[in-house]
């Protein structure tokens, strides 16, 4: 049974951009993404090596999902204190050793700051299959 809760960051104007980003992915990519998110929900970050990777920006991690398109969704642990949760902050790709959108980890860090100020800016992860 899932032990960790996965949330999506919600923009006050544009709504759930994680969902919007996921909807645009190919079915195969969505399957891989969902498997990784299920792994996080069931096992957390400590069991599977490399399930999340650091980005160089404090508290911001990425999922690395290989394929024709390199998925690099940005996420953070929590950010509520002591909660067993991850929050997906920003959908991103890696193209030619750079992120799309450019500076994705920094953007994600700003979204995390916004979320910490207002924890209503997230919803339970909306799965797209």
């Amino acid at each position: 049974m899932p032990k960790w809760t996965i949330f999506d960051y919600v923009d006050p104007v544009d709504g759930n951009l994680i969902r919007a980003w996921t909807v645009r992915l190919q079915k195969k990519e969505r399957a891989k993404l969902n498997q990784r998110l299920d792994s996080l929900a069931v096992h957390g970050a400590g069991m599977i090596p490399g399930i999340i990777s650091p980005t160089g920006i404090p508290s911001i991690f990425k999922l690395k999902i290989r394929g024709k398109v390199q998925l690099r969704p940005m996420l953070c642990e929590g950010p509520g204190r002591g909660e067993e949760a991850f929050t997906l902050l920003l959908g991103a790709f890696e193209v030619s050793d750079d992120y799309d959108p450019v500076g994705a980890p920094l953007l994600a860090s700003r979204l995390r700051d916004c979320l910490i100020k207002d924890m209503r800016r997230r919803v339970l992860h909306e799965r797209v299959s």
Binding site: M1, K27, K28, A31, I48
Partner: protein, 188 residues
Amino acid sequence: MSGLVDKLRSEFQDEEYRHSYAEECLNTTIATQIKILREQREMTQSALAKKSEMLQPRLSVMENADYSSWSISTLKRLARAFDLALAVKFEAFSEVVLDFEEMSKETLSRPSFKDDPMFRSAKVKTHRAFRRRRYSESDRQTAAGLQMGLSFMGQVVELPHPISRNNADYSQNLLREDSNASCVGIAG
């Protein structure tokens, strides 16, 4: 009942989806088991790399959920280094999902030949139950509540006899259960 299975029941009706999902399960499971087996044997990546005749950076890449370029020959070399047999088999999707959900340090650890209880004691006879599935303590508690049947995807699966694959417990259980022929493995 498996929450993950509930979530996947409708998604897996799509062929491309289920194959992609299962492929990721395979990649993450192998990477995790290599790390767990290495740590079980208190080996560094460098020591394992040397023993399996590969470079440490390559091993480091393989011990990562992101790696997907597995080859049987590389896995055979790792099996040799761990003093384990390599088993490659085709599996039903239901088994893949349940295995993945139950994955833990205990379910992925394996004894080297010298610690393999089957070959350590003449008292131990072939025990089919011990060649079957591994359930952790929490799984057993869940299973106990479900009595003898676990309905999954329209099939009824017999629950296994509670067994820990922790090496010490495994060995003790094996010796203890030697005289008890009532062990039940997953029907299959």
